[in-house]
């Protein structure tokens, strides 16, 4: 046993020395390999953590929301609809919800106006999200002016800034009183943006949504399970951003492994020939190549994973920020909770380290089984 270990140690010694002799080539190989794993792992860490955080945070989102559309466009919903929906068996409460958007042309930012049901600001006052506070450099007591639906300016005094820790849900929010919102947006007193329902039994969400559609054909119900599934689907590995980055990284890795699998360089073939000539067995050569493949791929895997973790969970995924920001000037500053799916870590390991190591061994096996004299020629 001790001899076997000692033998492996010597082979590893030789392998590392051989890798270090070709520092430039192997160094760049390690850098590219690490970069591919870093990108793959960053995307997986980011999307998984975001999905988990969305699930945790949005679990108390409204059970059913009813909106109204007319020829495919949203319309304010009459409060009379609430009375008709309330009659459906299983519905506990129906509440109007007032919210909308405001485009701030001076800062090129979109804000979301919300009328809170509990503890709303007094008329003339607003609470703002910390994202708005940051870009406008506005603080409690300051006055902010917005242009209303009639083109007239309205001034609001800032009551408070919403907590910094909740930026992921509140960076662009403006909480405003009902009277101010109706005056500002022009929505009449007998209408709301949409309706929020509470239902006795969560298993009846779909049934109640169907009843609402039958009762009010111009309505559009959205149930909580759909809201929760949205972030799961939007950031699943088969959608949008993820599949684009995945495809690019996977293609790079295939080219990389293909290059390795299709043959050895003349220098590597000569090295194998010399080793065979000085008495190395074919199995020794294969073990050396195994160590070579493992040394590069395992180091790249570990480095890539650690860097990806630091990028996503310590550096707020700063490399993804330009992609996620798009044209928006208001973007939340948040640090994701490090939810890590160890299945993803294992998947990256088996999809990168194992194939690379195997593709290193196969061409070497072909070279190692040929006569040393022929290989050296």
């Amino acid at each position: 046993m001790r001899d076997a270990l000692e033998r492996q140690r010597h082979i590893l010694d030789f392998t590392i020395a051989s890798l270090l002799r070709r520092k430039g080539k192997n160094g760049s190989l390690l850098a590219v390999y690490t970069l591919i794993i870093f990108i793959l792992a960053s995307v997986l860490f980011f999307t998984h953590a975001l999905k988990r955080e969305a699930t945790e945070v949005l679990r108390e989102t409204p059970e059913i929301i009813v909106q109204r559309t007319m020829t495919g466009r949203y319309q304010p919903i009459p409060l009379a609809y609430a009375d008709r929906i309330r009659d459906i068996r299983g519905v506990i409460t129906v509440q109007p919800r007032l919210w909308g958007y405001y485009y701030d042309g001076n800062f090129l930012a979109n804000y979301t106006l919300v009328v809170p049901r509990e503890d709303p600001p007094e008329p003339g006052k607003i609470d703002i999200g910390s994202g708005i506070s940051r870009i406008r450099e506005a603080y409690p007591g300051d006055i902010i002016g917005f242009t209303g639906h009639d083109g007239k300016p309205r001034n609001f005094s800032i009551r408070k800034i919403l907590s910094d820790e909740s930026q992921l849900i509140s960076a662009d929010l403006i909480l405003i009183s009902e009277a101010d919102y109706r005056d500002f947006s022009g929505i009449s007193a007998d209408q709301a943006t949409d309706l929020v329902l509470r239902v006795r039994n969560p298993k009846e969400y779909t049934t109640i949504a169907e009843k609402i559609t039958r009762l009010l054909p111009d309505s559009r119900p959205i149930v909580r399970t759909e809201i929760l599934r949205t972030y799961d689907a939007v950031f699943s590995w088969r959608s949008g951003l993820v599949i684009v980055i995945f495809s690019a990284a996977a293609l790079a890795f295939v080219i990389f492994a293909w290059d390795k699998a299709t043959g050895l360089s003349a220098e590597e073939r000569r090295e194998i020939g010399i080793l065979k000539a000085v008495g190395w067995e074919t199995s020794d050569v294969l073990q050396m190549k195994f160590w070579e493949g493992s040394a590069i791929s395992l180091t790249a895997f570990l480095l890539g994973m650690i860097l990806a973790y630091a990028h996503v969970f310590f550096a707020s995924s700063f490399l993804f920020a330009p992609v996620l920001k798009g044209w928006s000037t208001l973007y939340p500053q948040f640090r994701l909770v490090p939810y890590v799916n160890f299945g993803h870590v294992a998947a990256i390991f088996f999809l990168t380290v194992v194939p690379y190591t195997v593709t290193t061994i196969v061409p070497s096996w072909r070279a190692a089984t040929i006569d040393p004299d022929a290989v050296m020629r």
């Binding site: 140690r9 590893l12 010694d13 590392i16 270090l20 998984h48 969305a54 945790e56 945070v57 949005l58 679990r59 989102t61 559309t69 495919g72 466009r73 949203y74 930012a109 979109n110 979301t112 919300v114 049901r117 509990e118 999200g129 994202g131 820790e165 909740s166 930026q167 992921l168 849900i169 509140s170 960076a171 559009r220 959205i222 759909e226 809201i227 599934r229 949205t230 799961d232 689907a233 939007v234 950031f235 699943s236 590995w237 088969r238 959608s239 949008g240 951003l241 040394a295 180091t299 994973m305 973790y309 969970f313 992609v323 920001k325 798009g326 928006s328 939340p332 909770v337 490090p338 160890f342």
Partner: protein
């Protein structure tokens, strides 16, 4: 004293493995430590009746992904294509995807 190449390699690999294990342990602690903050955020979602994360504020249909519909990405005008960058990053919510395509998208969860 001169270390052999194998000893150096094993030391580096061991250190990297230890860092990874440390990050795994940190994750477990950080998730527990973040629970009160997530509960507060969840309470805020409940009180303000919010539906979405504030990730992409450039367009209404990406700001409120779960409230999105089929037509606003195209700016309500025939032959005008969806043009906000975040529309390419975030796909449509599952309830807007035709049933025959839904399995492909939803099957991709994890």
């Amino acid at each position: 004293m001169r270390f052999s190449h194998s000893a150096l390699y094993l030391a580096v690999t061991g250190t990297l493995l230890a860092v990874m294990a440390g990050l795994g342990a940190y994750s477990c602690f950080a998730v527990v430590a973040a629970t009160p903050r997530l509960v507060r955020m969840s309470l805020m979602v409940k009180n303000l009746e919010l539906t979405d994360l504030c990730l992409f504020s450039e367009a209404s249909y990406t700001r409120h992904l779960s409230m999105a519909d089929r037509f606003t990405p195209f700016q309500d005008s025939p032959m005008v294509f969806e043009h906000f960058p975040s529309g390419a990053v975030a796909g449509p919510p599952p309830h807007l995807i035709p049933i025959q395509n839904r399995r492909w998208i939803q099957g991709g969860e994890d």
